[in-house]
Symmetry: C2
DNA sequence: TATAATGTCTACTGATTTAGTGAACAAAAT
DNA sequence: ATTTTGTTCACTAAATCAGTAGACATTATA
């Protein structure tokens, strides 16, 4: 059930970029060293976040990454969903990765499904209302 | 985030055994065929559940598996936790697989941790109060 | 008592996913 | 021009997943 390192790195890196929001591009190296993330791996992750439209980048010397959206416009549900494939624990209750159940005859009356639907929905609600700005620690 | 097949098979097999509670041993083959689970794989799973103390078995001809506990005494939290290792999405909020956070200085003030603690706690509550008897479909 | 039908246990395996690495390339500042 | 950065693609070692296979132990029953 533990999130992949990729997902965890993404959340930490985004929180860092939210903290520096408005300060222009931050270099990969600075995030990698500061947040203890392998730099090559972090490059792939930031690239994915850029393709998702969450990050922008500046090329060349004095380049780097920065948040395109405002910190309160990026929620954890979309991050987890993108890197994990889905929020749900069973395909039959997933929004993004739905597949018909391989066991039950009728999903509407399946009690196993009901439970995991409830787990998905409550988890989704928590992640959805958590935006990057609420993750920043201001000392 | 999807549960492994092992975990899903375990839940389905246990629900079946709960349905047949009190009827004596049910053969692996009957469960395998009825619930569409590969028999060899199911053998491993039922063996694990026996070692957990949830199932009992009868050897030899006319043997099989049966629930040792009453269906309302087996909850999904213990099943998921056993087969997935933990309920939590981050080690730093896990009861069973706790490890100190690799990123934050102070877990008590980490906001990322707070969110995933809430996700873990609510998921745990739902799974904990769901027992096998509530999963049986009676037609 | 022989035999057939079951569970037990250990080891093995192919496929997939995870967690990266490496290198050639492109763009921008100086 | 040179240096510093991000971009892209290909590759890989290790771990996990999803089973299989086979020898063995136990029990019912004919």
């Amino acid at each position: 059930m533990i999130l992949s390192k990729k997902t965890r790195y993404a959340i930490v890196a985004l929180t860092r970029l939210a903290k520096e929001y408005g300060k222009g591009p931050i270099q990969i190296k600075e995030i990698a060293v500061g947040e203890k993330i392998p730099q090559n791996f972090l490059e792939n992750i930031l690239l994915e976040l850029r393709k998702m439209g969450i990050l922008g980048s500046k090329l060349g010397k004095a380049g780097g990454y920065f948040l395109l959206k405002k910190p309160d416009e990026v929620n954890l549900a979309e991050i987890v969903r993108h890197f994990e494939g889905t929020i749900a624990l069973m395909y039959c209750v997933s929004e993004k990765a739905y597949q018909p159940c391989e066991f039950c005859r009728d999903e509407a009356s399946c009690n196993i499904r009901k439970v995991f639907k409830e787990v998905r929905d409550t988890s989704y609600d928590i992640l959805k209302r958590t935006t990057l700005d609420s993750l920043i620690i201001r000392d």
